[in-house]
Symmetry: D2
Subunit: 334 residues, 4 copies
Amino acid sequence: MGPKATPDQTDHVVARLEEAGVDARVSRGREATVIGAIGDRELLATLPVEGYPGVEQVVPIVKPYRLVARELAADPTVIEVDGRRVGDSYFGLIAGPCSVETREQTLETARVVAAAGGTMLRGGAFKPRTSPYTFQGLGIEALELLKEAKAETGLPIVTELMDPRHVDEVVEAADVIQIGARNSQNFLLLSEVGRAEKPVLLKRGLSTSVEELLMAAEYVAKEGNDRIILCERGMKTFETSTRFTLDLGAVAVLKKETHLPVIVDPSHAAGRRDLVLPLARAAAAVGADGIIVETHPQPEQALSDAAQQIPTSEFAAFAAEVGAVVALMGKEIG
Amino acid sequence: MGPKATPDQTDHVVARLEEAGVDARVSRGREATVIGAIGDRELLATLPVEGYPGVEQVVPIVKPYRLVARELAADPTVIEVDGRRVGDSYFGLIAGPCSVETREQTLETARVVAAAGGTMLRGGAFKPRTSPYTFQGLGIEALELLKEAKAETGLPIVTELMDPRHVDEVVEAADVIQIGARNSQNFLLLSEVGRAEKPVLLKRGLSTSVEELLMAAEYVAKEGNDRIILCERGMKTFETSTRFTLDLGAVAVLKKETHLPVIVDPSHAAGRRDLVLPLARAAAAVGADGIIVETHPQPEQALSDAAQQIPTSEFAAFAAEVGAVVALMGKEIG
Amino acid sequence: MGPKATPDQTDHVVARLEEAGVDARVSRGREATVIGAIGDRELLATLPVEGYPGVEQVVPIVKPYRLVARELAADPTVIEVDGRRVGDSYFGLIAGPCSVETREQTLETARVVAAAGGTMLRGGAFKPRTSPYTFQGLGIEALELLKEAKAETGLPIVTELMDPRHVDEVVEAADVIQIGARNSQNFLLLSEVGRAEKPVLLKRGLSTSVEELLMAAEYVAKEGNDRIILCERGMKTFETSTRFTLDLGAVAVLKKETHLPVIVDPSHAAGRRDLVLPLARAAAAVGADGIIVETHPQPEQALSDAAQQIPTSEFAAFAAEVGAVVALMGKEIG
Amino acid sequence: MGPKATPDQTDHVVARLEEAGVDARVSRGREATVIGAIGDRELLATLPVEGYPGVEQVVPIVKPYRLVARELAADPTVIEVDGRRVGDSYFGLIAGPCSVETREQTLETARVVAAAGGTMLRGGAFKPRTSPYTFQGLGIEALELLKEAKAETGLPIVTELMDPRHVDEVVEAADVIQIGARNSQNFLLLSEVGRAEKPVLLKRGLSTSVEELLMAAEYVAKEGNDRIILCERGMKTFETSTRFTLDLGAVAVLKKETHLPVIVDPSHAAGRRDLVLPLARAAAAVGADGIIVETHPQPEQALSDAAQQIPTSEFAAFAAEVGAVVALMGKEIG
């Protein structure tokens, strides 16, 4: 209660809490009165306590997520797809082009990723682009190319779902459904993939906090799908020397807060090719469960994110460098 | 070009630009070489120049938006709906509950807003909520209640569209379709409403820059719908004493950059009732074309945003206070 | 206590708190144990509770500042200097050049500010500049020019102190000692001016929170000097269309949290001349107690901040526009 | 030039540039006119071009720092102190208590750091604290204890200088003078240590950009002292699950932009002990030239930063874990 709250206001809050079946305990200090509310988390979340007269501050003590919390699972979750694994002692090396552009580009990239021991193939069919005047992805056609790449290399496919009206097509083609950063709090899309039978790769939004990311995962888990991979990909901050600010501290926190695997996207955070390797190594060293990186046979011809894609000719060397850190951390590429 | 770029790399960039039909001019300084590329804006946007070897920095000189740019229109755009107006000399006073909860709450609020001279009624049918365990809105049922409120009071309805599968229902019920902050860069939803016959109220995302907001509006306009109201509602920053940081500087910039009306949502930025009036007055004084605020007959019973809704009993006084600043700025409530 | 805290760890915390003379009350919920610590605020601040085993979170309920808190004073503080006033119903219109450059520039500006009814004259003698290769201010020589301007116009002088070794000279020449944004948490400088006999104008740092700003003011007040004017001047955020993000929400919060006057610097926040008037009006409308703006006889010749200074030829019109909002808010220029 | 700039305004800008001895070249596009100004970097920095009428945007192409730029030095700089080295292939492991509190605490910590192969001892004598009511450091007395610790262990001393009036004492006692985050843009302190004969450890401020940090280092170097170690220690952002957001991308950028060594402070960024090791490993893996961490014999008794100090009993294990990543990166602890 604020410093000017009256005893009546305190009583009013207590009465409302008790009406709702919550146990309320009052501590009166010289400078403030504190009401401790003990009750069911979900019930408490629905009470508009911060709107009661005299209330200055509401401090949630119990975390608002449950299904994704570390305490819920005895062991860290491992996401297994076609024998490939991400989580616990398995480090996912997910790579591929930013966008699927042509059949040749897609197959060539897939072969390189497979040869270097990659875990999965990424590739965008539907591209969220800041400008309406730039390439928006090949759409459904790209899904077919990705399926062909999988048929040839055996690599499971990670691709983004943007539109709830495409759920069926994407779920059918993808092995892992990606929810992009700009949809990180698109709650209806989260609920949709919560009902899908495929694992979900959930990217952190550009201004999504760690707690909000866990709540977004909770949306998915609440619908029954707990095969979720979280992905840090950089925050919007004042710093412009990288495209986004990669928050590896958030990865370290997530590893303590949740049983879900946590991977890192160094490509989008860096925005430039020469920073991808150092950030990928740092991701492995901080304890991430994998990385998702962009690689392209001819980056300078790429229709999106040209500056940050690694040439496929350099991908094997890249994978080896990252792999050395993975091994040092006692993990193997999954 | 970077300091280590070779003449060959410079020639390569020039050749690629010329191939694409762009005029390229090279200035060689002692410490850097600058290539000026002059050509069609949309064409330039598609060239992956930043991926060419030796390129250090790409600096767009021409703005990436066009249809929404101030220069395009002789006069500021006025959005007119059922005789109510927002833009230029008309200040939109848009108010209503955060969520539509009951028939009585909705009608009572609508009457108060109408009596105080409000321009439109806002009310959420579909609510994006951080937690899956909280109230998610009444959905389609709420749209019926809003239509009833309009029938009684004549106030046009502003309500949010979240799901592209609800376009028909929302477009039918709403007079102005709101795109919420978390969908500010949901480009497919933007394209959808770009094809609708109703005006769009587009909120700035929590970490959307002014330029990105204008690009989002460009998505809508590109599909043919240029009846767009932009809305500043607060940014995610390090400051926690307000729920979000209201960026009135962005409003001042937008008024110079675009012909579209720009309004402000002080309620969501503040997150607390006692700051709504000062921020609403500041919005009017900075030159905004309107505000959108939350009001509720019994805020402490509200199912969402209880802390920030103004009691309807205080709404007329609030409207009068804001109206005084509006009048001083030479405008009238639309 | 965290979810894995043992009863022993809880007992240990309680024992340590009681040893220190703090009253500790334990509430055990199903999902967490909360220890309420009630005692002297300053004592509590010195206990390293967050370092005790098992402690997950320390939530301060009582605010950490005291002397500057709203509750301490019956009425808002008014800073009076030579008959000019800032605070409560007096709006301070403080204006002058970014830097003192020449005698003529300084006197001409002072005359214009005085003629337009300005409250005080600002002018930088020592300039903190990002680059060591740019103009650093005239130093001591500038102080003499400011004194001359005061002698002629009667306007009290606001100028910045950067170096604790210049305290005597600046205190002697200045009527109000400015602490700049980059020194907002230079605690030793704050203590120095806390021992001075002159009022202090304390700018908020680029990433200083409202609470940290109040703690900085507490440093000054603790040494005995409670004549402090707080100043919001823009935050460092991801948005680049303005030089800094002016946080008028913080002004509204500060007006509720402290009895000290709160003013706004729209010039540094905007970084461009054409936004200064809208932001100044918004500052007056949000309830600020004044503004501090930059004006120069020939801005394009200015040695610093050329882009944002208002030409002195336009200053009287500017002052009149702002004055109209001040009057509407029931205040007068002090 | 902005879209409405007149030919006269363009001519005016060109004339002013040429007057100043700068070569100006005009490119007229359909949508904008661009003036390329080629001349001495320091001269350009002093021209207030952004203030000339019609100018819309000034885009610096050449970087504003010179002495600290990567191009200036053939090889990365190695800072050597008493046979200990930081930079290039030497990784600095700098450790010690947050604050020097007692003789016993200081000596015990120094012995542990030396035994684990640490490079230098850190310890705060003067502490910048947000609250005036908390421990402010032992001051001069602490410097004596640090000298004693050095005499016994041979570890060079890193300690912070806050007050230009303490330059002599701190320079005499310290082997490396630390400039703290809150003084990162205290330009006069930077100039002071630029004239000192000791290396400088310069921390990045909480909202200092990479470019601003390099400009701050340029202040030091301009006075003649180019023995500078840069230190990333976390930014102020919206994320609160760590105390600050550690920006390892900035470290990767700095390694490309400057010849100076770049180290990381994981302790202050994390704010909690259990995140220090993962972040230290990530720092080594991203290519940092060292870390500076806090360790204390009994963290829960610490007078500052209790939550983040590593117990000295765990320091050897910590050093070994970090050392493994250092070795993998082809470096040795210096």
